[in-house]
């Protein structure tokens, strides 16, 4: 039994009167890939944004390495070793590729050269486009940049919100390869995906979210073979 890096207990989040997250419990063990799947509007992004401190929780607790994250400012969450690759990439369009990587390491004061080299090894495409403005990259390249930028902060936990959205199947495969590689290097991953099939295959553990609640959880492979998951998210019927 490995220890939990992140532990969400009984978390409630609402926007004005609308309850978006209704008392969820999620555990992310150190060194694993955990995926959160579910229909549109289920509250997946809200969950990640609350962890990152962008949205205020109503009640509950989010423990990271034994420290409470609720009420902590986003920049302090980042400095504790958590990073979020936001939904829709959100690279800085009029910064160059290299600047986008550097800004990912904004909190760091040490030398970045080795890590920039590492990112360029992961994504050789980015190295070729080092001086290009990020806004002129293709969607897939922007996604690579968003992941690379997040890695530059040297996170212990990287949260990704639909990294494969809108990408060609071959590129999606590439993104998943990278996710596994990053994980092999010791980074814990909390992943939101629409592509439930691939996500569950890659993940050690999965959670299914529906209208603000966790309805199912288990090992990735078990969920993959679960009939109701198959019907609802994998588009297969037996």
């Amino acid at each position: 039994m490995s220890e939990n890096l992140l532990e969400i207990k009984d978390l409630y989040v609402s926007y004005g009167g609308i309850k978006a997250v209704k008392g969820i419990n999620i555990e992310v063990p150190k060194g694993e890939i955990v995926t959160l799947i579910g229909a549109n509007g289920a509250g997946k992004s809200t969950t990640l944004r609350t962890i990152a401190g962008l949205v205020k929780a109503e009640s509950g607790s989010i423990m990271f390495k034994g420290e409470e994250l609720i009420g902590v400012e986003t920049n302090d969450v980042v400095s504790k070793g958590i990073t979020l690759v936001p939904e829709g990439r959100r690279v800085f369009p009029d910064l160059t590729v290299l600047e986008n990587l550097k800004i990912g390491a904004y909190m760091r004061t040490d030398n970045l050269d080795a890590d920039i080299k590492w990112i360029y090894e992961l994504f050789p495409r980015l190295e070729e486009r080092s001086w290009q403005l990020a806004g002129t990259l293709s969607g897939g390249e922007q996604q690579m940049l968003a992941v690379g930028r997040a890695l530059m902060s040297k996170p212990e936990l990287i949260m990704m919100d639909e990294p494969s959205l809108g990408l060609a199947p071959i590129v999606v495969q590439g993104i998943f390869d990278i996710i596994k590689e990053i994980n092999n290097q010791g980074v814990t991953i909390l992943l939101i995906e629409q592509n439930a099939n691939m996500a569950l295959k890659a993940a050690h553990r999965g959670y299914v979210m529906e209208t603000g609640s966790i309805t199912m959880q288990g090992k990735g492979v078990d969920l993959l073979n679960d009939e109701s998951v198959k019907a609802a998210y994998l588009g297969k019927k037996k």
């Binding site: 990152a52 401190g53 962008l54 986003t74 920049n75 980042v78 400095s79 990073t83 979020l84 936001p86 829709g88 959100r90 800085f92 369009p93 009029d94 910064l95 600047e99 550097k102 800004i103 990912g104 904004y106 909190m107 806004g135 002129t136 969607g139 922007q142 930028r149 902060s153």
Partner: protein, 293 residues
């Protein structure tokens, strides 16, 4: 008009334009980062005039200048903290109205404290000395203003494009939330923007009032408006745009006066604004936004 007289007017216009450019940068930078037209900026410029009057009276002009710079910066940052920061999540109209409120508050406060009578601006003897260069004669401040403006603009552009804080400013001006995710303290970056804008307004104020010789609580209104127009003409959000806009307004205004249309010179500024808004609403250097979904 002989060539020499024409050049003389050009020099005056360029010099006035330099002062306008320094003030216009404050509008453009704050707009760039907060999408706010900081209506109080003209009043900050005016109060910098009063700071200089009192600082010089007490410590002489050599100490008075740095004191003025620091006091103006503090004022600009305090205004941001008290009147704009609490409205960060509010609709843009609220913060705009807050800015108009601050503008009137500062104007009335100065009237209350110092009366509406013009106060003589201190003479800085070196700046008032008359020089003759290539047949053109003017006080040193007239020669210095455009040169100082260009130097400051180069430093500023370097900071924005080549330093870590500059990179953060460019990032925050595009996307608050993602900037937060990078670990950037956006309030610190916004304060830095107000520090720079206010410091440049203080420099502009010293150069401008040295030529005008007196300050009233209303001295900031019209220059403030003109510099806002300069920023719009240059393309609001763009620093080089604000500089070019400032020079255009300064030169046009001086030429109008030289040609005997001084009554219309202010109106002309606004005619220029309307023409610009009609034919090129994004201004000379206005950004064409690339939006990728």
């Amino acid at each position: 008009m002989s060539l020499n007289v024409f050049l003389q007017h050009c020099l005056t216009g360029i010099s006035l334009g330099g002062a306008y450019a320094l003030i216009a940068i404050g509008y453009t930078m704050v707009y760039g980062i907060l999408r706010l037209i900081n209506f109080a900026h003209g009043e900050i410029f005016m109060i910098a005039g009063y700071f200089m009057i009192f600082a010089t009276a007490n410590f002489g002009w050599a100490v008075g200048i740095p004191v003025t710079l620091i006091a103006t910066v503090v004022l600009g940052v305090v205004v941001e903290r008290l009147a704009y920061k609490p409205l960060r999540e509010a609709p843009r109209m609220s913060i705009m109205i807050s800015a108009i409120g601050v503008s009137y508050l500062l104007q009335n406060l100065t009237t209350y404290l110092f009366t509406a009578l013009p106060k003589p601006y201190p003479e800085i003897p070196i700046l008032k000395q008359i020089y003759n260069i290539g047949g053109l004669s003017a006080s040193l401040v007239t020669f210095i203003t455009p040169i100082l403006t260009i130097i400051l603009v180069f430093i500023l552009v370097y900071i924005i494009n080549h330093t870590k804080i500059g990179m953060a400013m460019r990032a925050v001006s595009k996307d608050f939330e993602t900037s937060r995710l990078m670990g950037i303290k956006i309030n610190k970056v916004i304060s830095t923007t107000f520090v720079i804008g206010s410091a440049l307004a203080a420099v502009g104020s010293i150069l401008y009032f040295t030529d005008r010789m007196s300050v009233t609580p209303f001295s900031g209104t019209l220059p403030g408006l003109k510099c806002f127009v300069a920023a719009v003409i240059g393309g609001i959000g763009s620093v080089p745009g604000a500089v070019v806009g400032g020079f255009i307004i300064g030169i046009c205004e001086t030429m109008m006066i030289a040609l005997g249309y001084s009554t219309f010179s202010d109106a002309f500024t606004f005619v220029l604004l309307i023409i610009m808004l009609l034919f090129r609403p994004t201004g000379i250097f206005g950004e064409k936004t690339i939006d990728k979904v």
